[in-house]
């Protein structure tokens, strides 16, 4: 239940974000797929080609850019072991400021090393202590917390993907977007509905972490136990929406499909073999929805967002074997 009015991100916010991230985020093209269904021709938006390998750079950079010079001088903090952590570290390096990234003990060394290589200070904490420690750093250092999705500046940054889709394919009918915390789809839907209200925006979610589908059906946020959400191979899609991102989805998203684990694996293989793109499982779910749930989706010119490509080499080899 909302306790007050929630302001949705606007096209103006997103256009301002686009100006800020220019030259930092890659202006990704739409990649036409010869292997798509002729009744629903397919284009991919390859956000796996961004610096740090995922769309997260758009929102993180926009949020850091929106801080005042004084705020920025005190540094930024994020708690994440995933793509958002590296995106914040990358944005901080671009601005020449400090970044603290709070990660749980047990995070793969390769991710810790990658974050450190970007100049961030990695703060290892016990599981469950990430948020607490991050807020301590905010209090001690005066640093600004950059949340992974629950902030209008982050949502506006992700929404620049929608602007680019409309610029490259004005007659788009359907955009398929992976959903988890909901920052990406909130921004993309805000852009699409502002510029092309006739185009539909659908969420795609793993069946094993389908809390957003349950929430949209119920009309209010439904929480799933983390043990349930952690079952999916799509390790970037284990978060839940916030009130802010759920409000965007209720207002702006046209539908949702859920995809099985085998469908996600198949989409990773199809993207590699037919589109020459390496996607992580989380990055392949929109394509999985396109490939395996045609009957549930509107027809017409379809764009699937390939949101990221950070997959462990051994895991990729296994998926393509």
């Amino acid at each position: 239940m909302h306790t007050g009015v929630v302001n949705l991100v606007t096209v103006d916010d997103i256009e301002a974000a686009a100006a800020r991230i220019q030259g930092v985020a890659v202006r990704t093209p739409l990649v036409p797929c010869l292997w798509g269904d002729p009744d629903r021709p397919l284009w991919l938006k390859p956000e796996n080609l961004q610096p740090v390998g995922a769309f997260k750079i758009r929102g993180a950079y926009n949020a850091v850019a929106r801080l005042t010079d004084e705020q920025r001088a005190r540094g930024v903090v994020a708690y994440s072991s995933g793509n958002h952590a590296q995106a914040v570290a990358y944005a901080a390096r671009e601005f020449g400021i400090r970044a603290w990234i709070v990660v749980p003990e047990g995070t793969p060394q390769v991710k810790v090393d990658a974050t450190r290589a970007l100049g961030a200070e990695v703060v290892l904490v016990a599981a469950g202590q990430r948020e607490t420690r991050a807020y301590e750093i905010v209090a001690e250092r005066g640093a600004a917390l950059i949340p992974p999705f629950d902030h209008p500046d982050v949502i506006a940054g992700q929404g620049t993907i929608g602007l680019e889709i409309v610029a490259d394919l004005a007659e788009v009918d359907l955009v398929l977007v992976p959903v988890s915390g909901g920052g990406l789809i909130s921004g993309v839907a805000a852009a699409m509905k502002g510029l092309r209200p006739g185009a539909q925006v659908w969420a795609v979610e793993p069946e094993l972490a389908a809390d957003t589908a349950a929430s949209l059906r119920a009309g209010h946020l439904v929480s799933w136990p983390v043990e349930d959400r952690d079952r999916t191979i799509a390790d970037g899609l284990r978060s839940q929406p916030s009130e802010l991102t759920f409000a965007h989805q209720r207002a702006l998203v046209d539908g949702i499909v859920t995809v099985a684990e085998d469908e996600i694996r198949d989409a990773v293989a199809v993207l590699a073999h037919r589109a020459n793109l390496v996607a992580e499982p989380s990055g392949a779910v929109a394509t999985a929805g396109y490939l395996h749930h045609a009957g549930e989706l509107p027809r017409g010119r379809t764009v699937a967002v390939v949101s990221g490509g950070n997959v462990d080499p051994a895991a990729l080899a296994a998926l393509l074997a």
Copy 2:
């Protein structure tokens, strides 16, 4: 020895080609690589994202577009079992004209099927008969032969890659380009030397098919036996330059490095694991040169052209295992 004056392709030719291919070829971005050497920051030009999975669409489409309406109405012919065949088929389909693709018996069925799926008529002939049969079709049908590299319109189309590199990274110092027949590097070098004469353009070639390196050293075309050239895993780089492409290279290319088979394999793996791009071995040689021949190359801001990504799924799995 040249028997006459060879006219090199100009920036004007390439700019005209760019206008023709707009909306057909993907406007590929430059992808910055965090893992590059800081003294020689690296960007990739991902031509593996083109329709048909390789840069060849640029030259083939430009050449078909340059025919008169009358010529085009009689159809086009190509002899190739590789990326050029599919590029010509794709261009013909875009124009709604017939295409005959002459391929040798024994061509993998998957390639034959892909070419047919684009609407082309596949003409199977005995090995060694491709060129003869192609010219028969030209004579019988009045169709226009679209050569894979030995034509100014093809070279100008490939050169649009150079225009885009300069547009996206005006301060580029070095462009690394795979070389075989030489259409790609001739076009890219013509664009770069016309617009950024201070930037260097280097060829990268497999050691096992290093006829271009031998030719540039000798100052005239040196032929290698096809049995030698066929040894490299880079199956798209087994052709030899023509007088036309060799004239461009002598005039415009600053240097050449040759890469070992293991270096090519390593580059395929690095591109998949660190840049999220599936490259075929031929498409990875420029990156192999960057990774393994730093001492031979100029320093500075470097672009490596990833020229294609059409690799058999089983071969890719083996390369990434």
